[in-house]
Point group: none
Chain length 458, copies 2
């Protein structure tokens, strides 16, 4: 790796200051799903806009949506240079359950080379590496070497319900050669990687109603339907005993893996015991006929995210509950269509609802198509070269079981692919208590973005 024409030294001099900025950003509880945090979300949008302006980005706007605002920043330097759209999000998952955090989720704490806070891995750290890299290039050369557009949304953790309308409306200002997602990560701390596919997402809520009122279990437990029991039996129909999804038609559009793809996945370093340890589970579970990594990367799922109904307090309450509820999401793979899957889920619930009770499946916002990028995409090739320089080894080809809905939107609305270029590592407790992000990845990530933007210049 070169010294980066000055930006490398500039970044090296600012490690403490940049970490302090990360600390500032992580203290903002930008929980997009919780209306009580609406003001915090708005403050975080302002913080990001200010940070872009401070980096030198000339056109910065907090762009309103029907939900939380996005931040758009544009720096056009020349028509004959490529334009990349750097995507990120400033919102975070809810921190609950709070009692499982070793240190408070919005009081960043550094332990053993990691910064612990909600949003550290997903993705405030990654977001800052891109902004600080653009600033480094600007400070050392007056401007970045290519045209750069930032699009930082505030609703990724609730499924980006208002991002597509924004992208449609701003299609001209967001036009680019390709997008770069700063949301994502590497395969391992010492294993750089190029991501070639992501899963899609769709889901909803299942509400079971068995009567008009909770009943006394002594008077009615033997004769009246029980909503908790009805729901449990219904939820148990979504998979067969082996773990295969039992929703009729669910696998119809799924393309099976080619021998080459299976070989590519089998070649990826994967320590099953280590994976289980990281996940905190004793055993694997899931669809038979596929390796755990094949399942995680290429097989669709129906995930039961939550359930509630009836008495949940201390002690006993002898009630026959009349209502029970569940949250369900599906991870989808090419070529599954979210709308078609929603329809299959709805039909499955109808088909398995016992007579005399009501089970209603209501789709929730936040569907996303699965994503794939071609192996010869110029952005992917450039990213590979930068990673090789940054890590001193060739990146491996990977996929992700996660969903970045914006990749499908960029394909559909802007006609561009997305290169994943980010630094989070597995096991970092994204969406869980005690989320963390490695300081080393943060500091190196800034250099990665500076090198990547430089490598894209004609």
């Amino acid at each position: 790796m070169t010294n980066g024409d000055g930006w490398n030294d500039w970044l090296a001099d600012r490690e403490a200051a940049h970490l302090a900025e990360l600390d500032d950003l992580l203290r903002l509880p930008s929980v997009s799903t919780d209306p009580a945090h609406a003001t915090d979300v708005a403050r975080t949008a302002s913080w990001v806009a200010e940070r872009l302006r401070a980096a030198g980005v000339p056109e910065v706007e907090v762009a309103p949506t029907d939900g939380h605002p996005a931040v758009v920043g544009r720096w056009r330097i020349a028509d004959d240079q490529p334009t990349v759209l750097i995507y990120g999000h400033y919102d975070v998952q809810p921190p609950e359950p709070l009692d499982l955090w070793q240190t408070p989720p919005f009081e960043p704490t550094i332990r053993d080379g990691r910064i612990y806070a909600r949003g550290s891995s997903d993705m405030k750290g990654n977001l800052l590496t891109a902004i600080q890299a653009v600033e480094a290039l600007a400070q050392t050369h007056g401007a970045p070497p290519i045209n750069v557009t930032f699009l930082v949304e505030g609703e990724e953790e609730i499924g980006s319900p208002n991002l597509a309308p924004l992208i449609s409306r701003e299609r001209e200002r967001l036009a680019c050669d390709f997008a770069v997602s700063a949301d994502g990560g590497q395969y391992g701390p010492d294993t750089p990687s190029l991501t070639v596919s992501l899963k899609g997402l769709t889901g909803g809520q299942l509400d079971v109603q068995t009567g008009t009122t909770d009943l006394h279990s002594g008077m009615y437990g033997a004769t009246a339907p029980n909503a908790v029991q009805t729901l449990a039996r219904l939820l148990a129909t979504f998979h067969d005993a082996d773990g295969r999804v039992a929703v009729d038609g669910f696998y119809d559009d799924v393309r099976d893996l080619s021998p080459d793809e299976r070989a590519e996945i089998a070649a990826v370093p994967f320590d099953e015991a280590d994976y289980r340890r990281q996940a905190g589970v004793e055993t694997f579970w899931g669809e038979p006929g596929y390796s755990p990594l094949e399942r995680a990367w290429t097989r669709p799922t129906v995930d039961l995210n939550g359930v509630w109904g009836g008495f949940q307090g201390d002690g006993s309450k002898t009630v026959t509950p009349c209502q029970a509820h569940a949250k369900i999401t599906c991870r989808l793979v090419a070529n599954q269509d979210p709308a078609k899957i929603q329809d299959l889920l709805r039909r499955h619930v109808e088909a398995h609802c016992p007579p005399g009770t009501t089970a209603t499946y209501t789709p929730l916002p936040g569907s996303a198509r699965p994503f794939e990028i071609a192996r010869d995409h110029p952005g992917l090739i450039a990213a590979g070269r930068v990673l090789e320089g940054l890590f001193g080894k060739d990146p491996i080809v990977i996929r992700s079981g996660g969903t970045i809905p914006v990749t499908a939107m960029f394909q559909e609305l802007l006609g561009v692919e997305t290169v994943m270029f980010a630094w989070s590592v597995p096991g970092s407790q994204a969406h869980a208590p005690n989320e963390w992000y490695r300081i080393e990845d943060f500091l190196r990530g800034r250099r990665g973005y500076a090198a990547f933007l430089t490598a894209l210049a004609r």
Copy 2:
């Protein structure tokens, strides 16, 4: 019915005065579950003690417990006469939601021959009928014809947590030939009834743990066990598809109904459509091979009272939950043993817990044995004769799916059976807004208790 050797006239002369006493008692908001009403509960205990003394009961004590006090009253008249223990409670359910009451819950109001107030049906009216009857007998004959003990607790509505220790401690003073529960009622306003069995109760909490932390469903949904799914599948194993309990050994000790018992139950007036309407359900559910009334009265159940785990908020959260929980209770019938059933539940959970996950069943306090009284019990026979005289028709034989833990305590601690002898009727909104009690039942109930105690004399 005879004129009752004078007590009948004496009671007839005091209808207005006795109704005024009921009004007084119903004005005391003895809500045992609410610490804000602790003083009211204590005042009500004193009121009951004073009323017993005024009735002539020579030994009356407000007996302290670890919670609200009980009132014990004893009137020993002769060693060669039987002794009955009249059980009741002076506490009431909370009145909330207040806005659904047509008149305030603690301002008794008479409309259409009913007195509306919290505690009217459950069970201050019934309690007074027994006390006023004893007074009538004493006023007309100097003393009741048999030995009478009153035990009036203040914690029935919170599960009688301190009653068993009190009965144990006072075993000698509470010794009796049998108990009489003034808490209960008749099958209908014009349908006198004798209750010959009650269900028992036992239960616990089921905790499923599939890992050490909630996981990102995109990263781990296809490979890691999901606690909500594991729990749902586990809960679905407690019953077969038809509604029969599928816990191994659950029915082993259950005595099947004899043809005579089935005929007895079939003869009970029972309107299925009306029952469903009262319950607010569209359909019956439960163990096949038995009528709804047979199930409600004689078949044991496993009731899923509540469930919770994972994400329960608005919108979606793409989490693979590591914990999920359920509350389970069982209604038991003769000759099921709560301790044995707890063991079967625990074993069932162990047997159906998938490998690599943890499912723990923890028993909760509050078990009660099922209750049965022999048809030839002298107290039951006497009660039947009195009801026939009071209503002008033979009582029907009924059972209850509910549990009255005190019946099991009397069996275990005092070695005696309990005769249910009380006046409330179905639909009287016990535990609900606008609770009521029929004036006619109150006035007649006093005569019923006087006749019952008289009939028991040797």
